[in-house]
Amino acid sequence: MLQLLDYDFMRRALLAAVMVGAVAPAVGVFVVQRRLSLIGDGIGHVALAGVAVGLLTGGSPTWIALGAAVLAAVALELVRANGRTSGDLALAMLFYAGIAGGVVLVALAPEGRAANLLAYLFGSINTTTSADLVLFAGLAVLVIVTVAVLGRTLYAVSDDEEFARAAGLPVLAVNIVLSVLVAATVVLSMRVVGLLLISALMVVPVALAQLVARSFAQTVVVACTTGLVAAVAGTTVSFYANTPSGGTIVLLAVAAFALTAVAAALASRVRAARHRRRHGADEQHGDHVHHGGHVHGEPDCDHPAVPHRDHVDFVHDGHRHAPRLTRHGVGYDEH
């Protein structure tokens, strides 16, 4: 690690990794809650068009990408709010327009400049300059302050837009703020993980966190910690293993997710087995087995019967129960 810190470019790279790793999941958690996990990719592709304009004109690709990403983010929300196009479809349109524009504009750029495109597509954290760091720090502070002040509002709107609107919250403005945060995070992340993996640091740490957290607040803390560790570890590994930083960071995050998923599944099985041993095989469904003292299908059962393949399910509290015989009587599987 000390050897790593001997190099100026690695010190800058690690600082960028710390900022991106901690900030991207803090925005990603609201995006995942809104079920728009791929919004970062859509806006990232528009940022690509911005980068291409920068390469074509000789302007700053990062600043132009930021402008393009913010404009796209606002347009996306306005289309969702006012148009007849669904959020999903609007995102797809953005995705295609961005990448098509990027490809065409890069083809028009002088040959030497176009080669730089790879650094934006796949990430090139080692080429982070001091000027980049200043911009990244500004974006990181913007994102963190906004999430700290508006976090509960972002949560309320992401969780239930209809309720938020009825409660008088400024839903469109909040959605635009979230989209602009995504745009800022995209530009912050593009030099670190690359535009093609832009959503990974927003989404994968959140996917891991929701396996272990019990609350939204815990999810934010676990996701940001995971993102931070993955970004710093990935940058370090990429230095020693001579691998691309973006891919290494994302692979580490995905590996951490896979290990956590397996561990969570095993822990769940152990808990279920312990519960069965303690309470007997049939009580694993708790009150579902007894149903207040009746068996589904008996005359005193008022749960609607629904034919399902070769058996009949019973609608129970918003989900369906399929009967099966056990050595203690009738038990129910949830279908």
């Binding site: 079920r35 509002t153 309320a156 969780d159 239930d160 209809e162 409660a167 008088g168 919250l169 609608v315």
Partner: protein, 269 residues
């Protein structure tokens, strides 16, 4: 019809896995504050000759409906009869093209939030759990944002109000539970607590019993009776009137965008 006492209902709610004797957010004596100093009680909701729709397209025509504080009105009708549009008009989510919609004297307009703090909304959702884990307290806390100021830091009384709202629906002991781990009926009660936490005078519920089994519906109905007994007015959109038991005092029937009848059912839980 014999009506259970408040204590009997609380006891029954406790047996259904709820906490006993929840403190009310809204003591019955505060109903008096709804009265004009020199006149009769203001209706919780007054819809007079209202035509409601989207843009220039009317969906509900010339609707009249009045709901008093502490009264529950069930809104029934076939799909497409205009129930949802009427409710959206009351919530300020649809355009009121002519006529008036007032909540406790506050004029409701599309997009205006003047009446929003007076109306609690429980949308129809089959599952409360989102893609990211949330606790019951976090979901309910979202209901405080509009009245508290969404940009302000959490007030000192935030947790107390959330707990009081959860207690009012009999879920004080589940505040730290993941909503995904609660039953369908308990999830609906969390949504009711989210609507109650801002202390609204009118509660609008969209199909609160849909997809909930009988035992959970019973607990839900007891909760609604408690809410009504505390002086709040209720509008309950439903396809299954029988499931609401004795809660509705009147039933408004909608057909082809019009309120065609409003009949007393003599429930009054």
């Amino acid at each position: 019809m014999r009506l259970s006492t408040r204590d009997e209902r609380r006891g029954a709610a406790g047996e259904a896995g709820s906490s006993p004797a929840p403190p009310s957010l809204f003591p019955p004596d505060t109903v008096a504050t709804m009265a004009r100093p020199d006149g009769p009680l203001l209706p919780a909701l007054s819809v007079r000759g209202a035509t409601i729709g989207y843009g220039r397209r009317p969906v509900v025509h010339d609707a009249d409906l009045e709901v008093a504080p502490g009264e529950a009105v069930a809104l029934v009708g076939a799909n497409g009869s205009g129930k949802t549009t009427l409710v959206r008009g009351i919530l300020g989510l649809a355009d009121i093209l002519s006529g008036h919609v007032d909540v406790l004297g506050e004029h409701v307009e599309h997009g205006a939030s003047a009446a929003a703090s007076l109306v609690g909304y429980v949308p129809q959702r089959h599952s409360v759990s989102g893609a990211v884990p949330s606790t019951a307290a976090e979901v309910v806390g979202a209901g405080l944002l509009a009245s508290h100021g969404f940009w302000r830091p959490r007030g000192r009384d935030h947790r107390a109000r959330v707990m009081a709202a959860l207690a009012e629906v009999g879920l004080a002991d589940r505040s730290r539970s993941r909503v995904a781990e609660l039953s369908g009926g308990q999830q609906r009660r969390v949504l009711i607590a989210r609507a109650l936490v801002s202390d609204p005078r009118l509660l609008v519920l969209d199909e609160p019993t849909a997809g909930v089994d009988r035992s959970s519906t019973d607990a839900l109905v007891r909760t609604l009776a408690e809410v009504k007994a505390a002086g709040r007015a209720l509008i309950i959109v439903t396809h299954d009137l029988a499931q609401l038991g004795p809660v509705p005092d009147r039933v408004a029937t909608m057909q082809d965008g019009s309120v065609v009848s409003v009949l007393a059912v003599g429930g009054g839980a």
